[in-house]
């Protein structure tokens, strides 16, 4: 585990918020019509003032703002639930999809696409699929009496494999939907607007707040199950609450953005560099880092091959992997 310069929350929290605001302003300006940060700020803060172009207001408010906000909350949600799962399972390798949410979401979305359920059908099916898969994993683990965190991880891995196999099979069979399914699986925020934000945003914020509230149980679980129990933690209740909150967050994020990898794994590690591993700070810090990363990644996805848009999940994996390796090397060398 890496641990470096510790900063006070009075330093990192405002810095990250300012960084996020700056990245958001930049992102709002990027696109087919370039808007300067000043123009974006005026369109945001004083849309009725006479020195703002009406087109700028329309572009910012109707076309871009919801997507940027969605990128921020999805990034925050993935990072927050990644941090929670890393603490609960005591492994730095855990990510939001570790107990089956991705497989369930993929199957749900695939079925909705094949079944031609349009509109909110695909995100809703992804959300339901993710929650159902996690509940199934949790139920199997509880029923098996081997109710340890390791059993939960193994059950999650097994179910994910089965669900991905089913998704692959469905893709093979229904090749006319192949492109749509595949682009959903790659993850992206293309075309998302206010309805998507209204659908996923509240669940993401509620889930994140619940995870923050569960910071001390998470801290206790990092010492192992017996330590947590000897400290008086009702283990099953605490674990169920953490799984529920993290899965709500993950499912809402997946419903909005598909399977965006890497943010949930890497953001908590970046946050630990400056805020340490106590979850009361790690959860909000990870969320802010995740929000910043996904806003930046989505901006890049929209611009690097314009007018073509890259799936943001591909970009996070392409850039995130090497960055993460570099960070690990840097952390180890210091």
């Amino acid at each position: 585990m890496i641990s470096r310069i510790r900063l006070s929350p009075m330093v990192w929290a405002p810095s990250l918020l300012i960084g996020l605001a700056a990245a958001g302003t930049l992102s709002l300006g990027l696109g087919a019509v370039w808007l300067s940060p000043g123009e974006v700020a005026r369109a945001l803060l004083a849309p009725d003032s006479p020195d703002v172009r009406a087109t700028a207001v329309t572009i910012v408010w109707d076309l871009r703002l919801a997507r940027v906000l969605l990128a921020a909350v999805v990034g925050a949600g993935l990072a927050g639930s990644g941090a929670a799962f890393q603490g609960m399972f005591r492994t730095p390798l855990a990510d939001p999809f570790v107990i089956g949410a991705s497989g369930g979401a993929a199957l749900g979305a695939t079925l909705a696409i094949i079944g031609r359920i349009g509109g909110v059908g695909v995100p809703a099916a992804a959300f339901i699929g993710a929650m159902a898969a996690v509940m199934l994993v949790y139920g199997i683990t509880m029923a098996s009496r081997a109710s340890s965190a390791t059993a939960l991880l193994l059950a999650g891995a097994s179910l994910s494999t089965v669900l991905s196999a089913i998704v692959s099979l469905l893709m093979l069979i229904s090749d006319r939907d192949l492109h749509e399914i595949f682009s959903w699986l790659l993850g992206g925020l293309s075309g998302r607007s206010w309805p998507a934000l209204a659908m996923s945003g509240p669940a993401l914020l509620v889930g994140l707040a619940a995870l923050w509230l569960l910071a001390r149980p998470l801290d206790a679980l990092t010492g192992g199950e017996e330590v947590a129990r000897s400290l008086g933690l009702p283990l099953n209740t605490a674990r169920a609450a953490i799984v529920a909150a993290a899965s709500l967050t993950t499912a809402a994020a997946v419903a909005a953005g598909g399977l965006i990898g890497f943010i949930g794994l890497a953001a908590p590690h970046i946050a630990r560099l400056f805020c340490g591993s106590g979850h009361a700070r790690l959860i909000p810090a990870s969320a802010l880092v995740g929000a910043l990363l996904l806003v930046l990644a989505d901006s890049a996805a929209r611009t690097v091959m314009a007018p073509l848009e890259l799936p943001v999940g591909v970009l996070t994996a392409l850039l995130g992997g090497p960055f993460f390796l570099w960070m690990l090397g840097w952390g180890g060398a210091r």
């Binding site: 801290d219 010492g223 129990r229």
Partner: protein, 287 residues
Amino acid sequence: MKIPLSPDAVAGASRPRPHQEMLSPDHAAGSLAATDLRCDLGGRAVLDGVQLQARPGEVLALIGPNGAGKTTLLRALARLLRPLGGAVSLEGQDIWRLRPRPLARRMALAPQGAELWPLTVEQFVGLGRAPHRGWLLPLAPDDRAAVQAALERTGLGAMRERQVTELSGGEQRRAILARALAQQPRVLLLDEPTAALDLKYQAAILGMARRLAHEDGLAVVITLHDLNQAAGVADRLALLAGGRVVAVGAPDEVLTAELIGATYGVPVAVCRHPLDGTPLITPLRGE
């Protein structure tokens, strides 16, 4: 201060036979009793009818050969292992009928195997306040005071901001003890607290265990491999073998050449500590 031993704790202590400690129904604060306790691990009986009582104001050391059931007994006392039969009662109440948090306010465990995560020492020790403050509320000033007191008592006052993963082995053991002290328990369970520590820290930890019992009135139960450490720290010893308590009593009564020789299967000589006269065990070289 020496706690006088009651006659029932001494009776029959010097013969290697299954020992049944007489139990008075003790509801006193900080008394912990195992009654006919039976536990198994993976279908193998590990504890078989253990009868034992820890009393406030004294250090009770659990000793015995490897596999005798010391750690299993400690885990059963700490409510980490559900017994097959018998009961563990804290202040007259079955621990399995208590909810986890009220139990953790009265009884704390300092485990041996430390799985550490890079929390700061203050965050780590602060976890010991959860039984009092609850799991969701932030710590209050009196919690911080209790954490500070526990840190100072264990000599970690200057290390609050350090990460527990960066501490030395001895400091980590003290941090684990500090977390248990922050629980402000009446019963303190210590699992091999001196393992892998050098002489200075061994003495410091054992001295602290004695002060917690004799000055603060805690019931301290401690598992120890080292019989001479056990002789030095404990008011009473419980010798376990094959999942049973074969003897309970003062060090003089339990640490006899016959009893230890028979239980451990190695001939030993018993001499006296030059300063305090407690028994010292030396294994004799094989003939």
